[in-house]
């Protein structure tokens, strides 16, 4: 069996084996999602609270004029739906990456990273799996919202898929990046305060940007620079069978930057993981 060659390389992984790896990661993420019913319910209740309570209260206060992609006046509920979809994905992205690191789940990240597949492939697979789960959440939300008279054109349910895949990847990659580089935010509450809320409120999710501009030109520019605004707009247009090219470009660009950042951050040579491991990893 053993030859006299010191470094003996066995056959590399084949393409089907790469597929097995990806399928396995998605399968596990799906199983976890099904087993953690609280997570699913809270992922669903959060946007529904906004839709049923917040939007109902605000529909008289905030009139929304006709802006693309809408062709008629729309109810406030209809206006905030894309933003709430993006919020579902934002929470999901943060949760799946952060819980991995902050909870006892650190172990799961280790199991993943000692796999012999290239690390970029493992992390990308993880992101794809998280995005798949967020799609399930979004469609569950859209289903319930339909009874609340949020009725985008039927074709919109299809055209929104590519947009959701992109925004899911972007927000998941952002969560992964944050989980690797920020050591001060020790728990999810910290991330809520410093990442999720600012991103959500300083965006076009709850109010059209032209109204923001009337109130505060400075905030308007902040919102324009916020990737979450573009995630929301990409979903909004796609839900009506249209493409917002600027948002598409921004989302694609941010996805690439966040993904490269996350992969670099989890590169052992950068030592970010090691620094974290020192703080609490090996219990």
């Amino acid at each position: 069996m053993t030859t006299d060659v010191a470094v003996r390389t066995e056959a590399r992984f084949s393409a089907p084996q790469y597929a097995i790896c990806l399928a396995g990661i998605i399968w596990r993420e799906g199983l976890r999602f099904l087993h953690q019913r609280e997570r699913f319910i809270s992922a669903l209740v959060r946007p529904l609270v906004w839709l049923f309570i917040f939007a109902a209260g605000f529909r008289q206060v905030l009139g929304v004029s006709i802006i693309p992609p809408y062709e008629t006046y729309v109810l406030y509920e209809v206006y905030i739906t894309p933003g709430l979809i993006a919020m579902i994905q934002l929470f999901n992205g943060m949760q799946s990456s952060l819980s991995m690191v902050y909870d006892r789940e650190m172990g799961n990240m280790r199991t993943l990273l000692v796999s012999p597949f290239p690390r970029w492939y493992l992390l990308s697979s993880k992101l794809i799996a998280g995005t798949a789960v967020s799609l399930l959440q979004v469609y569950a939300f859209l289903f319930i919202a339909w009874f609340w008279e949020i009725e985008p054109p039927p074709i919109g349910y299809l055209t929104v898929i590519p947009a959701l895949v992109l925004t899911g990847l972007m927000l998941g990659a952002l969560g992964m990046l944050i989980s690797s580089v920020i050591t001060q935010l020790e728990n999810f509450a910290g991330v809520m305060n410093f990442v999720i809320f600012p991103m959500f409120f300083a965006s076009s999710a709850l109010y059209p940007l032209w109204r923001v501009q009337e109130g505060s030109p400075f905030l308007y520019y902040v919102c324009q620079a916020n990737p979450f605004t573009h995630a929301t707009e990409l979903i909004r247009f796609a839900l009506y069978g249209q493409i917002n090219w600027i948002s598409l470009a921004v989302v694609c660009g941010c996805t690439a930057v966040f993904m490269v950042g996350a992969i670099l951050a989890y590169d052992p040579a950068r030592g970010l993981l090691a620094r974290r491991g020192d703080r609490g990893g090996p219990a």
């Binding site: 010191a6 006892r104 199991t111 491991g277």
Partner: protein, 256 residues
């Protein structure tokens, strides 16, 4: 470069590591021959977990080199990692998933398809007497059973080197003995190598190799009998005591 002999299962060469300014490993060097059961013996805080994180490439080796059957962990991590099975000190099974689901997931991470994974898992679970628990959630297993599942998981991709970090922590005497027996049988039967980290001296058997790690330094390594003879002690416990005491005394004059 290439000798006529097969490469060692594990080569650790001049490895140092520090967390910021706090050194954890200092110039650690040892090798483990193929088909060997090697015990990495050290007290808590000796640097065992750090060494494991370097071997499994969770951390990058900044100085020195680690090779697994000749594959440099830093340069060809894929080739190195596929020859290694790992059992971490902290529990890493997914508690909400069943035993079989955990094993299938791990197999996928090594490119092993579902049918083959199931076949191997059945085989391994039978060996560790847990075949009837395959469908149970991991959460419902005892600590010792979880450990056995983790070991089975580490063996799924048929690694030639198995590294285990304090695998018997928190287990009762019987479970500890069972797992040790199982691992030694594995070395004998399959010709795999094992690096077994522990702080429990009584887990060292006369036929093992031992690496004594203390405060980040290797104080002795080799077959147990030789380490005992070199220190002039009567048993491994005595040898360990002498070695670690020497290291405390010699900081003043002569460093190893």
């Amino acid at each position: 470069m290439h000798g006529p002999t097969p490469p060692p299962a594990l080569t650790v060469e001049g490895v140092s590591y520090a967390y910021g300014s706090r050194p954890a490993l200092a110039d650690v060097t040892f090798t483990i021959a193929p088909k060997t059961f090697a015990v990495l013996l050290g007290l808590n805080g000796a640097g065992k977990t750090t060494l494991f994180s370097l071997i499994t490439r969770l951390f990058a080796t900044h100085s020195g080199q680690i090779r697994i059957f000749g594959h440099d962990v830093a340069r060809t991590p894929g080739d190195a990692l596929r020859l290694v099975g790992v059992v971490f000190q902290s529990r890493t099974l997914d508690l909400d998933l069943s035993v079989m689901q955990n094993l299938i997931y791990h197999a996928a991470l090594h490119g092993i398809g579902r049918r083959e994974a199931r076949r191997r898992a059945d085989e391994l679970l039978t060996q560790i007497a847990l075949a009837d628990r395959a469908k149970d959630k991991v959460r419902n297993l005892s600590g010792g059973q979880m450990r056995r599942v983790e070991i089975a998981r580490a063996l799924l991709h048929r690694p030639r080197l198995l590294v285990l970090d304090e695998p018997t922590v928190g287990l009762d005497v019987q479970s500890r003995a069972d797992i040790l027996t199982h691992m030694r049988a594995l070395v004998a039967r399959e010709g795999a190598s094992v690096l077994w980290a522990t702080h429990l001296i009584d887990e060292v058997a006369p036929g093992d190799d031992v690496v004594v790690l203390h405060k980040g330094r290797v104080l002795a390594h080799g077959p147990v009998a030789r380490v005992i003879a070199d220190t002039g002690a009567s048993d491994i416990r005595g040898a360990f005591a002498r070695l670690t005491k020497i290291s405390l005394a010699d900081t003043a004059d002569e460093a190893a």
